[in-house]
Protein backbone atom coordinates (compact mmCIF):
# COMPACT_ATOMS: atom_id res chain seq x y z
CA UNK A 1 0.00 0.00 0.00
CA UNK A 2 1.22 3.48 -0.85
CA UNK A 3 0.55 6.80 0.83
CA UNK A 4 -2.92 8.11 -0.02
CA UNK A 5 -5.49 10.53 1.40
CA UNK A 6 -9.19 9.75 1.61
CA UNK A 7 -11.86 12.28 2.51
CA UNK A 8 -14.28 10.97 5.14
CA UNK A 9 -17.59 12.70 4.40
CA UNK A 10 -20.20 14.00 6.79
CA UNK A 11 -22.31 10.92 6.37
CA UNK A 12 -21.89 7.44 4.97
CA UNK A 13 -21.98 7.26 1.20
CA UNK A 14 -25.52 6.73 -0.01
CA UNK A 15 -26.99 5.90 -3.36
CA UNK A 16 -28.10 9.02 -5.20
CA UNK A 17 -30.65 7.32 -7.39
CA UNK A 18 -32.34 5.51 -4.51
CA UNK A 19 -32.15 7.80 -1.52
CA UNK A 20 -33.05 6.20 1.83
CA UNK A 21 -36.56 7.26 2.73
CA UNK A 22 -39.05 7.08 5.57
CA UNK A 23 -42.82 6.81 5.45
CA UNK A 24 -45.01 9.65 6.68
CA UNK A 25 -48.71 10.34 6.81
CA UNK A 26 -49.65 13.27 4.60
CA UNK A 27 -52.91 14.86 3.50
CA UNK A 28 -54.17 17.27 0.86
CA UNK A 29 -55.31 20.53 2.42
CA UNK A 30 -57.17 23.67 1.45
CA UNK A 31 -54.58 26.37 0.64
CA UNK A 32 -56.30 28.83 2.97
CA UNK A 33 -55.82 26.43 5.87
CA UNK A 34 -52.10 26.00 5.25
CA UNK A 35 -50.88 28.57 7.74
CA UNK A 36 -53.08 27.45 10.61
CA UNK A 37 -52.44 23.77 10.06
CA UNK A 38 -48.69 24.02 9.65
CA UNK A 39 -48.42 26.06 12.82
CA UNK A 40 -50.51 23.55 14.77
CA UNK A 41 -48.61 20.58 13.33
CA UNK A 42 -45.19 22.06 14.05
CA UNK A 43 -46.29 22.45 17.62
CA UNK A 44 -47.87 19.07 18.29
CA UNK A 45 -45.69 17.01 15.97
CA UNK A 46 -42.40 18.65 14.96
CA UNK A 47 -40.42 16.65 12.39
CA UNK A 48 -37.45 16.29 14.71
CA UNK A 49 -35.05 14.20 12.68
CA UNK A 50 -36.42 15.40 9.37
CA UNK A 51 -35.79 19.13 9.59
CA UNK A 52 -34.70 19.10 5.94
CA UNK A 53 -38.19 17.92 4.86
CA UNK A 54 -40.61 20.65 3.86
CA UNK A 55 -43.85 20.39 5.75
CA UNK A 56 -45.93 21.44 2.73
CA UNK A 57 -45.74 20.16 -0.84
CA UNK A 58 -47.05 22.30 -3.64
CA UNK A 59 -47.97 20.58 -6.86
CA UNK A 60 -49.60 21.79 -10.04
CA UNK A 61 -52.63 19.91 -11.21
CA UNK A 62 -53.98 19.81 -14.71
CA UNK A 63 -55.37 23.14 -15.74
CA UNK A 64 -52.82 25.05 -13.67
CA UNK A 65 -54.58 24.51 -10.36
CA UNK A 66 -52.31 24.39 -7.32
CA UNK A 67 -52.66 21.62 -4.77
CA UNK A 68 -51.11 21.69 -1.31
CA UNK A 69 -50.33 18.62 0.78
CA UNK A 70 -48.94 18.60 4.29
CA UNK A 71 -46.88 16.07 6.27
CA UNK A 72 -48.93 15.09 9.32
CA UNK A 73 -46.54 12.80 11.18
CA UNK A 74 -44.22 9.83 10.82
CA UNK A 75 -45.79 6.51 10.03
CA UNK A 76 -44.42 4.05 12.55
CA UNK A 77 -43.35 0.59 11.52
CA UNK A 78 -45.48 -1.49 9.22
CA UNK A 79 -48.77 -0.23 10.57
CA UNK A 80 -50.27 1.88 7.88
CA UNK A 81 -53.60 2.32 9.51
CA UNK A 82 -54.98 5.53 10.81
CA UNK A 83 -55.22 4.08 14.31
CA UNK A 84 -51.45 4.37 14.63
CA UNK A 85 -51.66 8.16 14.35
CA UNK A 86 -51.34 10.01 17.63
CA UNK A 87 -54.61 11.33 19.03
CA UNK A 88 -54.05 15.08 18.69
CA UNK A 89 -53.20 14.63 15.01
CA UNK A 90 -56.31 12.50 14.59
CA UNK A 91 -58.36 15.34 16.07
CA UNK A 92 -57.01 17.66 13.39
CA UNK A 93 -57.75 15.06 10.72
CA UNK A 94 -61.38 14.86 11.85
CA UNK A 95 -61.81 18.58 12.44
CA UNK A 96 -60.65 19.49 8.93
CA UNK A 97 -61.92 16.30 7.27
CA UNK A 98 -58.52 15.33 5.92
CA UNK A 99 -57.80 12.05 4.14
CA UNK A 100 -54.37 10.89 5.25
CA UNK A 101 -52.23 8.89 2.84
CA UNK A 102 -48.74 7.41 3.11
CA UNK A 103 -45.92 9.35 1.44
CA UNK A 104 -42.17 8.78 1.28
CA UNK A 105 -39.70 11.50 2.26
CA UNK A 106 -35.89 11.51 2.10
CA UNK A 107 -34.35 10.29 5.35
CA UNK A 108 -31.24 12.48 5.22
CA UNK A 109 -30.59 16.05 4.15
CA UNK A 110 -29.01 16.27 0.72
CA UNK A 111 -25.29 16.94 0.55
CA UNK A 112 -25.14 17.77 -3.13
CA UNK A 113 -27.30 19.43 -5.72
CA UNK A 114 -27.78 16.11 -7.57
CA UNK A 115 -28.86 14.37 -4.40
CA UNK A 116 -31.29 17.16 -3.62
CA UNK A 117 -32.93 17.08 -7.05
CA UNK A 118 -33.37 13.34 -6.73
CA UNK A 119 -34.88 13.41 -3.24
CA UNK A 120 -37.30 16.21 -4.14
CA UNK A 121 -38.97 13.72 -6.48
CA UNK A 122 -40.19 11.96 -3.32
CA UNK A 123 -41.20 15.05 -1.38
CA UNK A 124 -39.66 18.53 -1.38
CA UNK A 125 -36.75 19.11 0.97
CA UNK A 126 -34.54 22.07 1.69
CA UNK A 127 -30.90 22.01 0.67
CA UNK A 128 -28.15 24.14 2.17
CA UNK A 129 -24.97 23.81 0.17
CA UNK A 130 -21.94 23.88 2.45
CA UNK A 131 -20.99 27.47 3.13
CA UNK A 132 -17.38 26.54 3.76
CA UNK A 133 -15.03 25.34 1.11
CA UNK A 134 -12.22 23.48 2.79
CA UNK A 135 -9.17 22.69 0.66
CA UNK A 136 -8.64 19.07 -0.10
CA UNK A 137 -12.19 17.77 -0.17
CA UNK A 138 -11.96 17.79 -3.93
CA UNK A 139 -8.41 16.46 -3.91
CA UNK A 140 -4.85 17.49 -3.08
CA UNK A 141 -2.04 18.69 -5.32
CA UNK A 142 1.12 16.59 -5.41
CA UNK A 143 2.90 19.21 -3.32
CA UNK A 144 0.14 19.42 -0.70
CA UNK A 145 -0.03 15.64 -0.46
CA UNK A 146 3.69 15.47 0.20
CA UNK A 147 3.38 18.06 2.97
CA UNK A 148 0.54 16.08 4.51
CA UNK A 149 2.54 12.84 4.43
CA UNK A 150 5.48 14.57 6.07
CA UNK A 151 3.40 15.93 8.92
CA UNK A 152 1.83 12.51 9.39
CA UNK A 153 5.30 10.98 9.60
CA UNK A 154 6.08 13.44 12.37
CA UNK A 155 2.99 12.35 14.26
CA UNK A 156 4.00 8.71 13.80
CA UNK A 157 7.41 9.44 15.31
CA UNK A 158 5.72 10.75 18.43
CA UNK A 159 3.83 7.50 19.01
CA UNK A 160 6.97 6.26 20.74
CA UNK A 161 8.99 3.32 19.62
CA UNK A 162 8.94 0.14 21.67
CA UNK A 163 6.17 -2.22 22.59
CA UNK A 164 3.66 0.23 24.04
CA UNK A 165 2.27 2.64 21.45
CA UNK A 166 0.45 5.86 22.23
CA UNK A 167 -1.59 8.26 20.15
CA UNK A 168 0.10 11.43 18.96
CA UNK A 169 -1.12 14.79 17.67
CA UNK A 170 0.52 17.56 15.66
CA UNK A 171 -1.27 20.89 15.13
CA UNK A 172 -0.10 22.72 12.03
CA UNK A 173 -0.70 26.11 10.44
CA UNK A 174 -0.96 24.98 6.81
CA UNK A 175 -0.68 28.51 5.39
CA UNK A 176 2.98 28.67 6.46
CA UNK A 177 3.51 24.92 7.02
CA UNK A 178 4.52 25.56 10.59
CA UNK A 179 4.02 23.30 13.58
CA UNK A 180 1.97 25.02 16.25
CA UNK A 181 2.12 22.28 18.87
CA UNK A 182 2.60 18.54 19.18
CA UNK A 183 2.03 15.95 21.86
CA UNK A 184 1.58 12.29 22.54
CA UNK A 185 -0.80 10.83 25.11
CA UNK A 186 -0.07 12.10 28.61
CA UNK A 187 -2.43 9.94 30.57
CA UNK A 188 0.56 8.74 32.59
CA UNK A 189 2.61 11.91 32.62
CA UNK A 190 0.68 14.98 33.60
CA UNK A 191 2.68 17.96 34.74
CA UNK A 192 -0.14 19.95 36.18
CA UNK A 193 1.21 23.37 35.33
CA UNK A 194 2.44 24.47 31.95
CA UNK A 195 5.38 26.77 32.10
CA UNK A 196 4.74 29.00 29.15
CA UNK A 197 7.91 31.00 29.63
CA UNK A 198 10.09 28.02 28.88
CA UNK A 199 7.96 26.84 26.03
CA UNK A 200 9.50 26.43 22.65
CA UNK A 201 7.38 28.10 20.07
CA UNK A 202 7.15 27.48 16.40
CA UNK A 203 9.52 24.57 16.41
CA UNK A 204 9.07 20.86 16.87
CA UNK A 205 8.67 19.85 20.45
CA UNK A 206 10.12 16.62 21.63
CA UNK A 207 7.68 13.87 22.48
CA UNK A 208 6.39 14.05 26.02
CA UNK A 209 8.74 12.77 28.68
CA UNK A 210 7.74 9.31 29.78
CA UNK A 211 8.99 9.50 33.32
CA UNK A 212 5.95 7.64 34.55
CA UNK A 213 5.39 5.22 31.74
CA UNK A 214 4.05 1.80 32.53
CA UNK A 215 6.47 -0.98 33.36
CA UNK A 216 7.07 -3.29 30.43
CA UNK A 217 5.52 -6.24 32.21
CA UNK A 218 2.15 -4.54 31.88
CA UNK A 219 2.66 -3.62 28.31
CA UNK A 220 3.25 -7.15 27.10
CA UNK A 221 -0.47 -7.87 27.03
CA UNK A 222 -3.23 -7.67 24.55
CA UNK A 223 -2.93 -7.92 20.80
CA UNK A 224 -5.75 -6.23 19.07
CA UNK A 225 -6.74 -8.06 15.95
CA UNK A 226 -9.20 -5.34 15.04
CA UNK A 227 -6.33 -3.01 14.46
CA UNK A 228 -4.13 -5.05 12.23
CA UNK A 229 -5.24 -2.63 9.52
CA UNK A 230 -2.22 -0.70 8.35
CA UNK A 231 0.16 -1.97 11.01
CA UNK A 232 2.23 -4.99 10.22
CA UNK A 233 1.37 -8.01 12.29
CA UNK A 234 4.84 -9.38 12.89
CA UNK A 235 5.55 -6.68 15.41
CA UNK A 236 4.42 -7.54 18.87
CA UNK A 237 3.12 -4.10 19.63
CA UNK A 238 0.44 -3.34 22.12
CA UNK A 239 -2.19 -0.73 21.43
CA UNK A 240 -3.60 -0.68 24.93
CA UNK A 241 -1.62 2.47 25.64
CA UNK A 242 -3.45 4.37 22.89
CA UNK A 243 -5.85 6.35 25.06
CA UNK A 244 -8.51 7.01 22.41
CA UNK A 245 -8.69 3.25 21.73
CA UNK A 246 -8.77 2.19 25.38
CA UNK A 247 -10.01 5.21 27.32
CA UNK A 248 -10.95 3.17 30.42
CA UNK A 249 -7.55 1.47 30.75
CA UNK A 250 -6.37 4.23 33.08
CA UNK A 251 -7.79 2.36 36.06
CA UNK A 252 -5.05 -0.23 35.70
CA UNK A 253 -2.32 2.37 35.88
CA UNK A 254 0.48 1.28 38.21
CA UNK A 255 2.35 3.91 40.08
CA UNK A 256 6.10 3.89 39.84
CA UNK A 257 7.95 4.54 43.02
CA UNK A 258 9.30 8.04 43.25
CA UNK A 259 7.19 9.30 40.39
CA UNK A 260 7.46 12.97 39.65
CA UNK A 261 4.25 13.48 37.78
CA UNK A 262 0.55 12.72 37.99
CA UNK A 263 -1.55 10.47 35.83
CA UNK A 264 -4.60 11.98 34.17
CA UNK A 265 -7.12 9.78 32.33
CA UNK A 266 -8.23 12.64 30.07
CA UNK A 267 -4.88 13.85 28.83
CA UNK A 268 -5.24 12.32 25.38
CA UNK A 269 -2.79 13.59 22.77
CA UNK A 270 -5.34 15.84 21.02
CA UNK A 271 -6.32 17.58 24.27
CA UNK A 272 -2.70 18.15 25.22
CA UNK A 273 -1.90 19.53 21.76
CA UNK A 274 -4.86 21.94 22.05
CA UNK A 275 -3.65 23.05 25.46
CA UNK A 276 -0.13 23.65 24.14
CA UNK A 277 -1.50 25.59 21.16
CA UNK A 278 -3.50 27.80 23.55
CA UNK A 279 -0.46 28.32 25.78
CA UNK A 280 1.63 29.20 22.73
CA UNK A 281 -0.96 31.77 21.70
CA UNK A 282 -0.89 33.38 25.14
CA UNK A 283 2.88 33.37 25.06
CA UNK A 284 3.17 34.93 21.61
CA UNK A 285 0.29 37.37 22.01
CA UNK A 286 0.10 37.97 25.74
CA UNK A 287 -1.77 41.26 25.58
CA UNK A 288 -4.18 40.59 22.79
CA UNK A 289 -7.66 39.26 23.16
CA UNK A 290 -9.74 41.55 25.28
CA UNK A 291 -9.16 43.61 28.37
CA UNK A 292 -10.42 40.71 30.42
CA UNK A 293 -7.11 38.92 30.19
CA UNK A 294 -5.41 41.82 31.88
CA UNK A 295 -7.82 41.84 34.76
CA UNK A 296 -7.22 38.14 35.17
CA UNK A 297 -3.48 38.67 35.30
CA UNK A 298 -4.00 41.28 38.01
CA UNK A 299 -6.19 38.91 40.02
CA UNK A 300 -3.64 36.21 39.90
CA UNK A 301 -0.86 38.59 40.81
CA UNK A 302 -2.49 39.53 44.05
CA UNK A 303 -3.62 36.03 44.88
CA UNK A 304 -0.54 33.99 44.23
CA UNK A 305 2.57 35.87 45.25
CA UNK A 306 4.00 33.10 47.32
CA UNK A 307 7.53 32.85 46.09
CA UNK A 308 9.76 35.62 44.83
CA UNK A 309 10.50 33.66 41.70
CA UNK A 310 6.86 33.33 40.85
CA UNK A 311 6.30 36.97 41.60
CA UNK A 312 9.04 37.97 39.25
CA UNK A 313 7.73 35.82 36.48
CA UNK A 314 4.21 37.13 36.82
CA UNK A 315 5.42 40.68 36.95
CA UNK A 316 7.30 40.06 33.79
CA UNK A 317 4.25 38.77 32.05
CA UNK A 318 2.36 41.80 33.25
CA UNK A 319 4.96 44.10 31.78
CA UNK A 320 4.71 42.26 28.52
CA UNK A 321 0.99 42.81 28.64
CA UNK A 322 1.43 46.51 29.04
CA UNK A 323 3.90 46.67 26.20
CA UNK A 324 1.65 44.69 23.98
CA UNK A 325 -1.37 46.78 24.78
CA UNK A 326 0.60 49.81 23.73
CA UNK A 327 1.79 48.06 20.63
CA UNK A 328 -1.79 47.10 19.84
CA UNK A 329 -3.00 50.65 20.03
CA UNK A 330 -0.28 51.72 17.65
CA UNK A 331 -0.65 48.91 15.24
CA UNK A 332 -4.02 47.25 15.23
CA UNK A 333 -3.18 44.91 12.36
CA UNK A 334 -0.95 43.04 14.78
CA UNK A 335 -4.08 41.80 16.43
CA UNK A 336 -5.66 40.64 13.21
CA UNK A 337 -2.78 38.26 12.58
CA UNK A 338 -3.70 36.21 15.60
CA UNK A 339 -6.25 33.57 14.68
CA UNK A 340 -9.20 32.91 16.95
CA UNK A 341 -8.31 29.69 18.79
CA UNK A 342 -7.11 27.18 16.14
CA UNK A 343 -9.13 28.63 13.24
CA UNK A 344 -7.43 27.64 9.99
CA UNK A 345 -5.17 25.04 11.60
CA UNK A 346 -4.93 21.33 10.80
CA UNK A 347 -4.32 18.48 13.22
CA UNK A 348 -2.57 15.19 12.44
CA UNK A 349 -3.53 12.26 14.64
CA UNK A 350 -2.19 8.72 14.36
CA UNK A 351 -5.49 7.18 15.54
CA UNK A 352 -9.01 8.42 14.87
CA UNK A 353 -9.97 10.43 17.96
CA UNK A 354 -12.60 9.40 20.54
CA UNK A 355 -15.70 11.57 21.07
CA UNK A 356 -14.02 13.61 23.80
CA UNK A 357 -11.07 14.53 21.57
CA UNK A 358 -13.16 15.01 18.43
CA UNK A 359 -15.47 17.43 20.28
CA UNK A 360 -12.48 19.26 21.78
CA UNK A 361 -11.31 19.87 18.20
CA UNK A 362 -14.75 21.29 17.33
CA UNK A 363 -14.52 23.64 20.32
CA UNK A 364 -11.04 24.79 19.36
CA UNK A 365 -12.13 25.39 15.73
CA UNK A 366 -9.67 23.06 13.98
CA UNK A 367 -10.13 23.24 10.18
CA UNK A 368 -9.00 19.80 9.00
CA UNK A 369 -8.26 16.51 10.73
CA UNK A 370 -5.92 13.90 9.24
CA UNK A 371 -5.69 10.51 10.92
CA UNK A 372 -3.92 7.31 9.91
CA UNK A 373 -5.77 4.46 11.66
CA UNK A 374 -9.48 4.12 12.34
CA UNK A 375 -10.63 3.55 15.92
CA UNK A 376 -13.28 0.83 15.85
CA UNK A 377 -13.74 1.02 19.65
CA UNK A 378 -14.53 4.71 20.19
CA UNK A 379 -13.78 6.59 16.95
CA UNK A 380 -15.99 9.66 16.60
CA UNK A 381 -15.16 10.61 13.00
CA UNK A 382 -16.90 7.78 11.18
CA UNK A 383 -16.25 4.57 13.13
CA UNK A 384 -18.72 4.91 16.02
CA UNK A 385 -19.98 8.48 15.82
CA UNK A 386 -19.50 10.99 13.00
CA UNK A 387 -19.16 14.44 14.54
CA UNK A 388 -18.32 16.07 11.20
CA UNK A 389 -21.90 15.30 10.20
CA UNK A 390 -23.63 16.69 13.32
CA UNK A 391 -25.22 19.75 11.78
CA UNK A 392 -26.24 21.30 15.09
CA UNK A 393 -22.60 21.87 16.09
CA UNK A 394 -21.39 25.44 15.60
CA UNK A 395 -18.23 24.46 13.74
CA UNK A 396 -17.39 21.78 11.21
CA UNK A 397 -14.04 20.45 10.16
CA UNK A 398 -13.15 18.30 7.18
CA UNK A 399 -11.84 14.83 8.00
CA UNK A 400 -9.30 12.79 6.02
CA UNK A 401 -7.75 9.41 6.51
CA UNK A 402 -4.13 9.10 5.42
CA UNK A 403 -3.29 5.61 4.21
CA UNK A 404 0.26 4.57 5.01
CA UNK A 405 2.65 2.14 3.36
CA UNK A 406 2.82 -1.01 5.45
CA UNK A 407 6.37 -0.55 6.61
CA UNK A 408 6.05 3.10 7.57
CA UNK A 409 5.81 2.38 11.29
CA UNK A 410 9.12 0.55 11.27
CA UNK A 411 10.76 3.18 9.14
CA UNK A 412 9.85 6.21 11.24
CA UNK A 413 11.11 4.57 14.39
CA UNK A 414 14.31 3.15 12.99
Amino acid sequence: MKWAIIHIPEKPQISITEPPSVDVFAAVIEPKLANTLVRRLNKICPLENLTHVKRVRRSSLEGGKIQLSVVLCLSHGEVEQLESIQSDILELVHAYQLSPFIAKVAKYAASSNEEWKEQCKLWPTSYHPPTYNIDGITGFSEEDSQTIFNFMKLALKLTKSGPQLENAAVIVDPSVRQIISSASDQTHSWHSLIDTTSMETGCIKQPAVFTCSQPDANAAAVRDTLLSDGVSDENKRSYTGVSCLYPRKWMEHQQNTGNTCYFHPLRHAALVAVELAAARDKHLFPGSGNMLDCSFQENRLTSSMNSPAKKQKLNLSKDEDDLDLKACSHDSCFETERPYLCTGFDIYLVWEPCAMCAMALVHQRIRRIFFAFPNPNFGALGSVQRLQGERSLNHHYAVFRVLLPEDVFDNVHS
Binding site: W250, N290, L341, A355, Q364, Q385
Partner: protein, 179 residues
Protein backbone atom coordinates in the same frame (compact mmCIF):
# COMPACT_ATOMS: atom_id res chain seq x y z
CA UNK B 1 -32.97 10.92 30.42
CA UNK B 2 -35.00 11.80 33.45
CA UNK B 3 -36.29 15.29 33.86
CA UNK B 4 -37.24 16.77 37.18
CA UNK B 5 -39.91 19.21 38.11
CA UNK B 6 -38.62 21.75 40.56
CA UNK B 7 -40.84 20.54 43.41
CA UNK B 8 -39.64 16.96 43.09
CA UNK B 9 -36.06 17.87 43.76
CA UNK B 10 -34.76 17.18 47.19
CA UNK B 11 -33.36 20.03 49.24
CA UNK B 12 -29.84 18.72 48.88
CA UNK B 13 -30.10 18.54 45.07
CA UNK B 14 -31.16 22.18 45.00
CA UNK B 15 -28.48 23.16 47.51
CA UNK B 16 -25.74 21.61 45.38
CA UNK B 17 -27.13 23.18 42.21
CA UNK B 18 -27.11 26.56 43.97
CA UNK B 19 -23.39 26.09 44.57
CA UNK B 20 -22.92 25.28 40.88
CA UNK B 21 -24.83 28.46 40.02
CA UNK B 22 -22.52 30.42 42.32
CA UNK B 23 -19.63 29.08 40.27
CA UNK B 24 -21.40 30.13 37.07
CA UNK B 25 -21.90 33.58 38.56
CA UNK B 26 -18.21 33.81 39.25
CA UNK B 27 -17.58 32.99 35.59
CA UNK B 28 -20.00 35.71 34.51
CA UNK B 29 -18.26 38.26 36.73
CA UNK B 30 -15.04 37.41 34.92
CA UNK B 31 -16.65 37.62 31.48
CA UNK B 32 -16.51 33.88 30.96
CA UNK B 33 -19.41 31.77 29.65
CA UNK B 34 -21.43 31.38 32.87
CA UNK B 35 -21.46 27.65 33.47
CA UNK B 36 -20.37 26.19 36.79
CA UNK B 37 -20.31 22.85 38.54
CA UNK B 38 -19.57 20.99 41.76
CA UNK B 39 -18.57 17.36 42.34
CA UNK B 40 -20.19 15.70 45.33
CA UNK B 41 -18.99 12.60 47.19
CA UNK B 42 -20.77 11.21 50.25
CA UNK B 43 -22.89 14.33 50.56
CA UNK B 44 -19.92 16.70 50.50
CA UNK B 45 -18.66 19.04 47.79
CA UNK B 46 -15.16 17.83 46.90
CA UNK B 47 -14.35 20.16 44.03
CA UNK B 48 -15.84 22.94 41.96
CA UNK B 49 -15.18 24.55 38.64
CA UNK B 50 -16.40 27.11 36.19
CA UNK B 51 -15.76 27.89 32.58
CA UNK B 52 -12.30 29.37 31.94
CA UNK B 53 -12.09 29.36 28.14
CA UNK B 54 -11.45 33.08 27.68
CA UNK B 55 -8.66 33.32 30.21
CA UNK B 56 -6.86 30.23 28.88
CA UNK B 57 -7.79 30.74 25.20
CA UNK B 58 -8.45 27.04 25.37
CA UNK B 59 -12.04 26.28 24.40
CA UNK B 60 -11.89 22.92 26.16
CA UNK B 61 -11.56 24.47 29.61
CA UNK B 62 -15.17 23.89 30.57
CA UNK B 63 -16.31 23.90 34.20
CA UNK B 64 -16.27 20.10 34.37
CA UNK B 65 -12.68 19.83 33.11
CA UNK B 66 -11.53 22.41 35.66
CA UNK B 67 -13.16 20.54 38.54
CA UNK B 68 -11.83 17.17 37.32
CA UNK B 69 -8.24 18.45 37.25
CA UNK B 70 -8.60 19.63 40.83
CA UNK B 71 -9.95 16.24 41.92
CA UNK B 72 -7.25 14.21 40.22
CA UNK B 73 -4.53 16.38 41.67
CA UNK B 74 -5.91 16.31 45.21
CA UNK B 75 -6.45 12.58 45.25
CA UNK B 76 -2.97 11.84 43.94
CA UNK B 77 -1.43 14.30 46.38
CA UNK B 78 -3.15 12.21 49.06
CA UNK B 79 -1.47 9.11 47.68
CA UNK B 80 -4.50 7.41 46.15
CA UNK B 81 -3.86 4.82 43.44
CA UNK B 82 -5.63 4.69 40.10
CA UNK B 83 -7.82 1.87 41.38
CA UNK B 84 -8.82 3.86 44.47
CA UNK B 85 -9.50 6.96 42.40
CA UNK B 86 -11.67 4.95 40.06
CA UNK B 87 -13.61 3.72 43.10
CA UNK B 88 -14.15 7.31 44.24
CA UNK B 89 -15.41 8.48 40.83
CA UNK B 90 -17.81 5.57 40.90
CA UNK B 91 -19.51 7.18 43.93
CA UNK B 92 -19.31 10.78 42.65
CA UNK B 93 -22.17 12.95 41.44
CA UNK B 94 -21.79 16.04 39.29
CA UNK B 95 -24.07 19.08 39.57
CA UNK B 96 -23.64 21.37 36.57
CA UNK B 97 -25.72 24.34 35.42
CA UNK B 98 -25.87 23.23 31.76
CA UNK B 99 -26.04 19.79 30.16
CA UNK B 100 -22.46 18.55 29.64
CA UNK B 101 -21.29 18.90 26.03
CA UNK B 102 -20.20 15.91 23.95
CA UNK B 103 -16.60 16.33 25.10
CA UNK B 104 -17.43 16.58 28.80
CA UNK B 105 -20.01 13.78 28.68
CA UNK B 106 -17.38 11.49 27.11
CA UNK B 107 -14.86 12.56 29.73
CA UNK B 108 -17.33 11.76 32.53
CA UNK B 109 -17.96 8.33 30.99
CA UNK B 110 -14.21 7.69 30.77
CA UNK B 111 -13.85 8.53 34.45
CA UNK B 112 -16.92 6.48 35.32
CA UNK B 113 -18.84 8.84 37.58
CA UNK B 114 -22.16 7.78 39.09
CA UNK B 115 -24.61 10.46 38.02
CA UNK B 116 -25.05 13.93 36.58
CA UNK B 117 -27.64 16.52 37.59
CA UNK B 118 -27.85 19.46 35.21
CA UNK B 119 -29.79 22.68 34.79
CA UNK B 120 -30.66 23.67 31.24
CA UNK B 121 -30.34 21.47 28.18
CA UNK B 122 -27.78 22.13 25.49
CA UNK B 123 -29.40 21.62 22.12
CA UNK B 124 -26.29 22.45 20.11
CA UNK B 125 -23.53 20.54 21.91
CA UNK B 126 -25.31 18.37 24.48
CA UNK B 127 -23.76 14.95 25.04
CA UNK B 128 -26.36 13.65 27.50
CA UNK B 129 -29.27 13.21 25.13
CA UNK B 130 -29.58 16.45 23.16
CA UNK B 131 -27.19 15.65 20.29
CA UNK B 132 -25.48 12.42 21.31
CA UNK B 133 -26.16 10.15 24.27
CA UNK B 134 -22.70 9.42 25.58
CA UNK B 135 -23.98 8.87 29.11
CA UNK B 136 -25.64 5.68 27.93
CA UNK B 137 -23.47 4.55 25.03
CA UNK B 138 -19.84 4.85 26.07
CA UNK B 139 -17.81 3.23 28.78
CA UNK B 140 -19.69 2.56 31.94
CA UNK B 141 -22.38 5.18 31.45
CA UNK B 142 -24.02 7.32 34.11
CA UNK B 143 -27.43 8.42 35.32
CA UNK B 144 -28.57 11.78 34.03
CA UNK B 145 -31.21 14.14 35.40
CA UNK B 146 -31.89 17.49 33.75
CA UNK B 147 -34.03 20.56 34.39
CA UNK B 148 -32.82 21.45 37.88
CA UNK B 149 -33.00 25.22 38.38
CA UNK B 150 -32.91 25.49 34.60
CA UNK B 151 -34.38 28.99 34.45
CA UNK B 152 -31.61 30.35 36.71
CA UNK B 153 -29.00 28.70 34.49
CA UNK B 154 -30.58 30.11 31.34
CA UNK B 155 -30.90 33.62 32.71
CA UNK B 156 -27.17 33.68 33.50
CA UNK B 157 -26.40 32.62 29.91
CA UNK B 158 -28.79 35.26 28.59
CA UNK B 159 -27.09 37.94 30.62
CA UNK B 160 -23.74 36.82 29.24
CA UNK B 161 -24.85 37.00 25.62
CA UNK B 162 -26.63 40.28 26.15
CA UNK B 163 -23.40 41.82 27.33
CA UNK B 164 -21.68 40.14 24.40
CA UNK B 165 -18.95 37.54 24.28
CA UNK B 166 -16.00 39.71 23.35
CA UNK B 167 -14.05 36.59 22.52
CA UNK B 168 -16.26 34.76 20.08
CA UNK B 169 -16.46 35.67 16.40
CA UNK B 170 -20.19 35.41 16.65
CA UNK B 171 -22.04 34.36 19.74
CA UNK B 172 -24.00 31.21 19.77
CA UNK B 173 -24.56 28.96 22.66
CA UNK B 174 -27.66 26.97 23.31
CA UNK B 175 -30.29 28.75 25.29
CA UNK B 176 -33.05 26.36 25.97
CA UNK B 177 -34.82 25.16 29.04
CA UNK B 178 -35.12 21.41 28.97
CA UNK B 179 -38.50 20.30 27.84
Amino acid sequence: MALCEEENNSDSTLAFMKLAIEQANDALNNLEVPIGCVFVLDGKVISSGRNRTTETRNATRHAEMEAIDELLKNWQDNGLSAMEISGKFFKCDLYVTCEPCIMCASALAILGIRSVFYGCGNDRFGGCGSILSLHSSQGKGFECTGGIMASEAVSLLRRFYEQGNANAPKPHRPLQISK
